[in-house]
Amino acid sequence: MSVRPRLPARPGTIGRREALIGGLCLCCLPAALRAAPAGPIATVEVAPGLHVRRGLDQEATEENLGGIANIGFIVGRDSVLVTDPGGSLADGEALRAAISRTTDLPIRYVVLSHAHPDHIFGAGAFQQDSPEFVGHARLPQALARNGDYYRQRLEEILGPGRAGPVVMPTLTVDATAEIDLGGRVVAMTAHGIAHTDNDLSLVDRATGTLLPADLLFVGRVPSLDGSLKGWLKELGALKALPVTRAVPGHGPESVDWPAGSADLERYLGVLLAETRQAVADNIGIEAAIETVGASERGRWALYDDYAGRNVTKAYKELEWE
């Protein structure tokens, strides 16, 4: 299976350019076409029976329907597992259409990798299949806390009723668990606080593929909503897994593993070291936002949209060390 390594970005160019290219394609569609029911989305079979839709390196918009995260599905002998249902009801419907174009097998499992809206609001499209919705043991409380808030904000972008419902998991994982799709076992791990406090990763053993969702960002700037130190710890554990390929939550459909973790680990390491130094030097948060991570600017799409928030988050964590 081909792996698509990301070329190094030139400072200050890649984020805007990628956003522009993606945005133009969709914006230029006639309005009537955009409003039509979503057809199946294009997916890539990164390994036998493992299909991935690459999310756009953009923020959610009316045009992209929240299709900004990598989502996909795994086909076993007996059933199908959805690796994340997508960023809106329409995104989920388009994924479901892509699945039915590929296989007639029933969709028995829909994994909700974590509570962020770009990964889970497609879940409503799969309720008709009565699958198990699978999530981290802390996912229910995170959705209870934030789900309606996310939904309201998403509807401000997509329009009333177009975000999709907040779907609660029917099956939760508090450590590890396995799902058998028929001759194909998917192992699940509930992680400690990292990207969020409810990250669930998958390993498709048949193809030696890790699906870490947003525990892995490639090319698009990571967003920190849990614990910086925790994320580095969990990333270290993921790197030790005996797999050769990973599907990032954002970025290419597939990267070599563990090589594909290098950029993220470097970014998180810089954020940790430089924020910790700023705290030690009594540099305030505002000044730290200006200085921390300067070497990373230009290496990531959407960098300026998230970098300051990440520093703020890291600072809040590290000042209590």
């Binding site: 923020e59 959610a60 918009t61 900004i68 995260a69 509570a115 962020h116 809206p117 770009d118 229910p140 409380q141 959705l143 209870a144 806390r145 934030n146 789900g147 309606d148 808030y149 996310y150 904000r153 998403l154 401000e156 972008i157 907040v166 606080i193 969020t196 406090d197 947003d214 967003s223 909503d225 849990g226 614990s227 954002h250 009594n282 305030g284 948060i285 505002e286 936002i289 949209d305 998230y306 300051g308 928030r309 520093v311 703020t312 988050k313 809040k316 000042e319 209590w320």
Partner: protein, 268 residues
């Protein structure tokens, strides 16, 4: 619109910046809002232009609306006995009212506040004879009050009352030194809804902070729901001898948290 998208997109944000919020307000409405607020805090008194006397530094566009760092500096601090920080358009506008004691140093005060919508933030210095001097800055941030409770608040609740004191350099007797007091407290403002129960997380916030040095008052702070989770207060004080800084924090549930810090001072 871009910042609105940003908050939704990935990131679980505990804050939301939006061009829409507060955008209808014009300059005249903001001034009227400020005039309407004044009697509550100042009674019959009207603040005058602070000119060079009092300055407020805040980010024009905040990275995180639930944690907007602000710095108030006072040029001629000899007569200053108190400072007010008001986030005009917040549901509870008064972020903090600080009165300085004999061991205090009003020259600098740093706070972290929540911002609910685009707003003016006012800093007002009060002199011993009751005169008031104001300055203001417009801040673009929104959603900092109603943003859902997250892992940060959970950590704050678990360690509620833990404190740290950081000193900005060596302490020299008789010389002002800047200190940073950090208090673990969720400062729940009662506006965060639990979507499962449809109940709001009950309000529980830091009501007052008293800091003394060897028994002499450094400052007294009256807080409110506009202070961020885990309040952090930067302040000056003048140690006249080696000693101990004592902090007493009271919250709206009448819980009392106390901590003492030995100050390693060098003679001058």
């Amino acid at each position: 619109m871009r910042s609105l998208l940003l908050a939704v997109a990935v990131c679980g944000a505990t804050a939301l910046t939006s061009f829409a919020a507060g955008a209808t307000q014009d300059e005249a409405e903001r001034l009227e809002r400020w005039r309407d607020l004044q009697p509550e805090f100042f009674g019959e008194r009207t603040p005058q232009d602070g000119g060079d006397m009092v300055a407020l530094d805040a980010p024009v566009r905040a990275e995180d609306a639930s944690l907007v760092p602000i710095t108030v500096t006072v040029a001629n601090d000899q007569n200053i006995t108190g400072l007010y920080v008001v986030v005009d358009d917040n549901p509870g506008p008064l972020a903090a009212r600080v009165s300085f004691g004999p061991a205090g140093d009003p020259s600098v005060l740093k706070l972290r506040v929540r911002v609910n919508q685009y707003t003016l933030i006012h800093a007002v210095a009060e002199t011993a004879d009751g005169a008031l001097y104001e300055t203001a800055q417009f801040v673009k941030a929104a959603g900092g009050c109603s943003a859902p409770v997250g892992a940060d608040e959970a950590a704050a609740l678990a360690e509620m009352g833990r404190m740290k004191l950081r000193l900005g350099g060596d302490v020299v007797l008789g010389q002002p030194v800047e200190a940073q007091l950090m208090i673990r407290h969720p400062n729940f403002n009662g506006m965060q809804m639990d979507q499962l129960t449809r109940m709001y997380t009950p309000m529980r916030f830091v009501r007052s902070i008293d800091v003394t040095y060897n028994g002499v008052q450094v400052f007294h702070l009256d807080g409110d729901i506009s202070l961020s989770t885990d309040p952090v207060i930067g302040f000056g004080f003048v140690p006249m001898e080696k000693g101990q800084m004592k902090v007493v924090v009271r919250d709206s549930d009448d819980a009392v948290f106390e901590e003492s810090f030995d100050i390693p001072a060098q003679g001058s």
